[in-house]
């Protein structure tokens, strides 16, 4: 029995001859960001890869690695990669990709056909966010923000500092994909732009959200509408809401916010409903001279409600104008009662764009933080 084991171990060595899958860390080109821009011809795309370059120890002052930008054109992503492979000595490694950027022009042309490569390739991960770049992806990937050179990290950390369950933390390839597959819902993606700010260094900013329908970008939501969108799809507890009127302004920190959507279809009427429960804490008060400590909180409550109404209303209205249900009202009806959903699924877009909506809010300001009432109030008493 023993010699048998020895012989078989030798045959195992036979099989060990090749190590197919091993690739050294040294000769890896670690892709940190991918961008797709519109190519010259109609059906061509320009693939932009941001690669962290470790060779020659190119390091700037704080020891951050310098990114290299590689780009190539091709009919689809794999074609572009093949042409890139010939140029670069190292093998491209996609599993550490942080962000997928789509140039606005290419987004308008449509990106559904490229999703397949991202999902099918075993290296790419599904939790990577899909973002629309205002000018083109290359510009965003080339920007070097002050904190870190590799802009992909910058974009990812911008999204990440909105702690879950915020709407931004739910943006990833999987949510884009599942909303894309669903018959009625339309995917959305934040828009990032790189700007030169007052003292000449470039910064990256989120400037609204893009709406996609059948893989094509058909519209855009501004800053305020995105705020409304965030209220519906999930607000991050870390954010502050600024509320203003002519005689003063206030900043309120969100303590907790739950939002849920439901829709119903009663005798030909497709009603959408949004109910939001949120509690706040005052983090700053300025102005409101004529108010006193006791009636400041109800006053702020109403201010807050009108502000939320306007924002959420504008968000829903613009999504109806674009005839794209980005909130999932259609699938909410499907979940409640599949039969009703069957009736309206054919011309869903028309019904959705004309259907009324109701927003019921429960807003409550819990406490005023360290000092009670208004600062100026104590001054008068002196």
């Amino acid at each position: 029995m023993k010699i048998f084991r020895v012989i078989l171990i030798f045959t195992m060595a036979l099989f060990l001859a090749g190590c197919w899958d091993s690739k050294e860390v040294g000769d890896l080109a670690i892709v940190t960001g991918m961008g797709i821009d519109a190519g010259a011809e109609k059906d061509e795309i320009k693939l932009v890869l941001q690669v962290g370059d470790m060779s020659k120890g190119q390091k700037d002052s704080q020891g951050e690695t310098e990114p290299i930008i590689l780009d190539s054109t091709g009919v689809n992503i794999q074609a572009a990669i093949e042409s890139l492979k010939i140029q670069s000595t190292r093998s491209l490694y996609f599993s550490h990709n942080q962000v997928i950027l789509i140039g606005e022009e290419q987004a308008r042309r449509g990106i559904a056909c490229f999703l397949d490569w991202f999902v099918r390739n075993e290296n790419t991960r599904m939790e990577v966010p899909l973002i629309v770049a205002k000018q083109d992806a290359k510009a965003v990937l080339q920007t070097k923000t002050t904190q870190n050179n590799i802009s992909a990290f910058a974009v990812k950390s911008m999204l990440d500092n909105d702690v879950a369950p915020s709407f931004y933390s739910k943006i990833n390839l999987l949510s884009f994909l599942s909303t894309h597959i669903n018959k009625t819902t339309c995917p959305i993606a934040p828009i990032v732009v790189s700007k030169i700010d007052s003292d000449k260094n470039t910064i990256l900013e989120i400037e609204g959200t893009a709406i996609f329908k059948e893989g094509k970008m058909i519209g855009e939501l501004g800053i305020h509408q995105t705020e409304g969108l965030m209220w519906i799809l999930g607000q991050s507890p870390k954010r502050n809401i600024i509320v203003k009127n002519d005689d003063g302004n206030a900043a309120l920190a969100i303590v907790s916010s739950q939002s849920s959507i439901s829709s119903d279809y009663i005798d030909g009427e497709f009603i959408n409903e949004v109910n939001i429960k949120a509690t706040f804490r005052i983090s700053e008060l300025a102005g409101f001279k004529d108010k006193h400590s006791d009636n400041i909180i109800p006053f702020i409550n109403d201010l807050l409600k009108d502000d939320m109404y306007t924002k959420i209303g504008s968000a829903i209205q613009s999504s109806k104008n674009y005839k794209s249900d980005i909130f999932g009202f259609g699938s909410a009806l499907y979940k409640k009662s599949p039969e009703k959903f069957e009736q309206i699924v054919e011309n869903f877009d028309e019904i959705y764009s004309k259907s009324p909506y109701r927003i019921n809010l429960e807003v409550e300001v819990l406490d005023t933080g360290k000092i009670n009432g208004i600062l100026t109030d104590h001054q008068n008493k002196g």
């Binding site: 029995m1 010699i3 060990l16 190590c19 860390v25 040294g26 890896l28 670690i30 940190t32 290296n123």
Partner: protein
């Protein structure tokens, strides 16, 4: 198959030689003419000198004694093995001084040897003996032989007393809390140390192994607790050890080991009497060999190498933490380099991005692949360890520290090896020392798992993990399953976690014989 045939062949050759050796020895020693004493003192002495040879440490002194010193006798002993004053005090002095004549009256029919033994020699352990072979064996192992002219019987008086090493601190199993005494080379002190701990019902059976060395071997076990089959099997195996000289207990270890080719040892040894007695009480058998401070305990379980004496003297929670730490470090010691290689060459996806950048930078200059790098470092570490061990203590310490520092630093700065490799190998090296009794297994398994993970990555070393599990599961030590499985169903209270003493009521089932209640109320009272 093939190998079995080979084995049988070798055994045949050995046994045939043995038979030849045996009868040679018989021919030479028990020559028919000298099977029993002649009675005439001078001839006997010459015969014995002929057999034993003229080595200078064998002393023969003849003297006269008796009422008017008409009888003469001879005392034979080995200088250095005996306690000279004892001989003088208990044999020579009474014989020479005792003048009472009724003993030596030739007229009385009684045998002078018997009279001398009964009334004259004042020593507790005096025995008659006729056969010269036994007499020679006696004075060779430290007793004195007293022959009287004209009689066919001699006397063996036990006067052992050579300078033996005191009961000092154990070297291999140092411990902070708990008894610190350890076994010595002297056979009697070892049996005494054990007897002191288990006073009642400890049975010590005596055997002699080794034709030339005649080393005495003792089997210590507690009757009723020990498993009879294991005892009989062990005895039969010890009997048919036909060996020239038994220098150290490890000879016995290799003879009674059932599976010589498996990596894991199935016979355990210890240097501390409290550990030995604890194991005996759990149903094992201790084998004490003369001239070796290591006592073997049979049968061995895999868990034993993770249990140290200190576990039972320290608080249970801390002991459990230590136990788990030992398991984890055992795993680290085997799989850490393999994990490092498979992570950096196969599954870079699992390394967080920032760490991957630092890794890539660290490996920038180094020419070798991860496998060769870690192989060099592990190999260098083994050389260092061996050097540190073999050199005398002060120099050894210096070598290992200097070696580690210099080699690690220089290799990294020279760019032969990346920094992460040095760290992983350092961790594996230190983790390897946490379970001292398994260091040999760890070094071999570490290399095998490194090879497999170099070719097949994560999948490779899981295969090695399974191979170890299978090998462990199939091992039995004296019929007792060696490895009860990672979650032992039966006596879990003592493997991973160490429950407080009062919960461990029954002895481990796989080992113990009939009476397995060891704490709390036993069956009868």
């Amino acid at each position: 198959m093939l190998f079995k045939a080979l084995n049988r062949h070798i055994k045949k050759i050995i046994s045939s030689k043995e038979i030849k050796a045996e009868n040679e020895w018989e021919k030479q020693n028990s020559c028919p003419i000298y099977s029993e004493l002649i009675g005439v003192l001078d001839e006997d002495l010459n015969k014995i000198r002929g057999i034993v040879g003229t080595s200078l440490d064998i002393k023969v002194t003849t003297f006269n004694f008796g009422e008017n010193s008409e009888l003469n006798g001879a005392v034979i002993f080995v200088d250095g093995l005996v306690n000279q004053e004892l001989i003088a005090q208990s044999i020579l002095q009474p014989l020479k001084l005792f003048k009472g004549n009724e003993i030596y009256m030739p007229s009385k029919p009684c045998d002078v040897v018997e009279a001398v033994r009964n009334c004259v020699i004042c020593s507790a352990d005096v025995v008659y003996e006729e056969s010269p072979a036994k007499l020679i064996n006696a004075f060779m192992s430290g007793d004195t032989v007293f022959l009287i002219d004209g009689f066919k019987r001699g006397l063996i008086i036990s006067t052992r007393g050579w300078d033996k090493r005191g009961v000092t601190e154990p070297q291999s199993e140092s411990v902070i809390r708990g008894p610190r005494e350890c076994f010595t080379e002297n056979f009697r002190t070892n049996t005494a140390l054990l007897r002191r701990r288990i006073k009642s019902s400890l049975i010590i059976e005596h055997m002699v192994i080794g034709r030339k060395s005649q080393t005495s071997v003792a089997l210590a076990y507690v009757d009723g607790v020990v498993n009879p089959e294991i005892l009989n099997e062990l005895k039969s195996q010890l009997e048919d050890i036909s060996i020239d000289a038994l220098i150290d207990s490890s000879y016995i270890q290799s003879y009674i080991d059932h599976n010589p080719f498996s990596l894991f040892a199935t016979v355990n040894y210890t240097e501390k009497p409290d550990v030995a007695s604890a194991r005996i009480l759990e149903g094992r058998i201790a084998i004490i060999t003369d001239g070796s401070p290591f006592v073997l305990t049979v049968p061995m379980l895999f868990i034993e190498s993770f249990q140290t004496a200190e576990d039972y003297y320290v608080r249970p929670s801390y002991a459990t933490a230590l136990r788990i730490l030992r398991f984890i470090s055992f795993m680290i010691a085997i799989f850490a380099p393999a994990i490092y290689i498979s992570l950096t060459t196969f599954h870079q996806e699992l390394i967080p991005t920032k760490l991957l950048f630092t890794l890539a930078e660290a490996k920038e200059g180094t020419p070798f692949t991860a496998f060769i790098e870690s192989f060099i470092m592990v190999f260098a570490f083994e050389i260092l360890r061996e050097a540190g061990l073999r050199l005398p203590r002060p120099v050894g310490q210096a070598i290992s520290i200097v070696g580690a520092l210099v080699m690690g630093e220089a290799a990294v700065s020279a760019g032969i090896v990346g920094a992460p490799v040095v760290i992983t190998v350092a961790i594996t090296a230190v983790a390897g020392f946490v379970v001292p009794s398994q260091t040999d297994v760890v070094t071999i398994l570490r290399i095998i798992s490194m090879v497999f993970s170099a070719f097949l990555g994560g999948y490779g070393f899981t295969l090695v993990f399974f191979a170890i599990l299978i090998d462990l599961a199939s091992l039995t030590s004296f019929g007792v399953p060696y490895f009860e499985g990672l979650i032992p169903a039966r006596n879990v209270q003592d493997s991973y976690i160490r429950m407080p003493i009062w919960t461990m009521k029954t002895r481990p089932k796989s080992l113990s014989g009939v009476d397995d209640i060891r704490r709390g109320k036993t069956k009868n009272n």
